[in-house]
Symmetry: C2
Subunit: 380 residues, 2 copies
């Protein structure tokens, strides 16, 4: 027998999470998550799932029947959309203005489909004219895929206009709302989004690990019309829905697919309940307000934003690291002296920018004040 | 705007979970899980991940460097093994003696490989002679895949002997240890298992949603020698290991892949720490002992086991429903009157058997006593 390692219980410090996510989790959510585990087929649990579905529908502003939480992080939510909807040989127009557009491309390739890339510089929103040109140049494209709020740069793209364009060209839309959901305006039905995914750990201020997803009736029809099986068993929504909504073949009885992450779903239920209690528009307004206060302070500190004002995300503030300043040293000092986490740059912005998150429960004045004062002290 | 649903916080009852999983979660694990969320790249979090890796290695009894927790349930752990190791066109011998062998077949087909099925009746262990015959008949097979402990029937297969056979025939082994890990003897290195996955929610008594996985050096070499990309981006272990162990290209620096389910990993760390503290052999012994006490009581109640004594899992006791007894009514009464959950039959045993779990923290004398008395009362 290999010997048992001698390891103590882990006691994490109390950080203030102002990076690109995970964000500070609501205390109520941590409490909800530690309630007693019950079975994933317990009648009380499946009733909770019905409520959870209604809460996800509200957050997405959709009446889509196929609305649920994927039992894995946002990256799996992304993959859920691509593997269920896109078939080998199909063409997908993919907008890339940061890390997550590139990840979409990799997803398209891994299902054996053909990505047509629309590239925009990092820090800029997706260029609507370029997308229109691509749609015209590729009339055989079946999908338009883009990131609503690019977490790697802090740029917000015009999802409404992009979806309208896609509809004109008979394309279904696949939209990354990982960082946008709960932080900025997002209206799935009104804008005509066909497939959308998000994450629990950004503006919902839930624990990381779960991905809300919704498919429009058109997306469901595309899934139903597949001629090949979905390449992922775990993410196959035609199977998963047998658990989330009941199986028509069994008279609506819920069928076992995989064991749901029971406690994580308690947490998501509570975080979305808090969002519904605050009201979506109030939450959007709060994020905008806190962003203005942070922006003013950062500007006074002489820090420049990566993204132009009109496309700037309130919840993800990317600022250039001043010349001569040691990126890692500053972040370490913030973490070690103030228990404050801000995010490093990612991809093309690695070493060049910091990413300061104001997400969900984290979008509060006390956080803004702490962040500004700590940065001021450390940059002195 | 669609209106916000009026929904209250969810307050689950305190159940006693004696089904096929999730099992009763250790109170210490629920407490660990609700500790403050910190960043997935926080130096203290990555140090915790190193401990977690050592704890998973201990539980599996392996020194495999590629040992980690997949950020999703056991079904995703299964898919991780198949999509990383098996390539299109390859042949996989799959043993099927319950639901999960069938799920393995579906995984093999979805990577475009060819399953060769070795079927055994439900309730029986995998037949070693049949496997040997299949290995001889298919010298071009690259893998042998089987379920160590079939959760759908309660049958334990001889993993040691099956792995020895596979090695004689130059096959890599893929082993489902979802229900076996922590409940019965399992020695990955000594038995020569090449790829193994488990779940958090069975004999580890952790919250559901995470899957410990380990690949042998031979499996890692097979992954490295792939000529095609892994079809899942989310489960691609060549990418995931950049986060879990650091990227050699960046001098060992951990690279972002996806946001880890931070709090769920706190929970897994604590549950495996409790297992290490008890000691694997003591835990195996406790499961065996509690099973004997339950078995005696069930036999006194006139209930017959589905599985023969020599292949019976201590942690999953499948018994036939007596003739004339209403399956659903009994389970409802146990749940509503005693807060006791036992499992329904699955697949071929649906409506014919109950599955009584004695897993991890649930394998305690007080649970055995409660279950026997409640069953006695309800069956009266």
């Amino acid at each position: 027998m290999l010997a048992a390692p001698k390891i103590s219980s882990f006691n994490p410090p109390r950080r203030i999470l102002m990076g690109p996510g995970p964000s500070d989790v609501y205390p109520e959510v941590l409490a909800a998550q530690s309630k007693p585990t019950i079975g994933h087929l317990d009648p009380l649990f499946v009733a909770m799932m019905d409520e959870l579905k209604a809460l996800i529908q509200y957050a997405f502003q959709t009446e889509n029947a196929m609305t649920l939480a994927v039992s894995a992080p946002g990256s799996a939510g992304m993959e859920t959309c691509f593997v269920n909807l896109v078939e080998a040989g199909e063409k997908v127009i993919v907008c890339r203005n940061g890390v997550f557009g590139e990840r979409m491309r990799q997803n398209v390739e891994r299902v054996g489909a053909t990505p047509v890339m629309v590239d925009n510089p990092w820090g800029e929103p997706v260029n609507v004219d370029d997308v229109e040109a691509a749609l015209k140049a590729h009339p055989d494209a079946k999908f338009l895929a883009f990131v609503h709020a690019e977490t790697s740069t802090g740029a917000l793209s015009d999802a409404k206009q992009l979806c309208a364009l896609a509809q004109q060209h008979d394309c279904l839309t696949i939209v990354d709302a990982v960082t946008s959901l709960g932080g900025v305006e997002l209206k799935v039905d009104e804008w005509g989004i066909d497939a959308i995914y998000s994450g629990s750990q950004k503006c919902l201020s839930c624990v990381p690990g779960i991905s809300p997803v919704s498919f429009s009736p058109k997306a469901v029809a595309k899934l139903a019309a597949r001629t090949t099986p979905v390449q992922s068993w775990f993410l196959d929504q035609s199977l998963v829905m047998g658990y989330w909504s009941g199986d028509q073949a069994t008279g609506g009885k819920r069928s076992y697919h995989h064991t749901a992450p029971v406690n994580a779903l308690y947490a998501l239920h509570e975080s979305l309940r808090l969002l519904a209690e605050e009201g979506l528009e109030n939450a959007w307004q709060r994020h905008a307000q806190m962003h203005q206060e942070l922006r003013q302070g950062l500007t006074e500190l002489g820090l420049d934003f990566v993204v132009d004002e009109q496309s700037r995300l309130p919840q993800l503030n990317a600022v250039y690291i001043p010349e001569g300043v040691d990126d890692a040293a500053v972040r370490s000092e913030l973490l070690n002296r103030y228990n404050l986490e801000i995010g490093a740059g990612l991809g093309a912005l690695a070493g060049k920018a910091w990413r300061i998150g104001l997400m969900g429960f984290g979008a509060r004045r006390e956080n803004v004040a702490l962040c500004l004062k700590a940065l001021q002290d450390v940059l002195k």
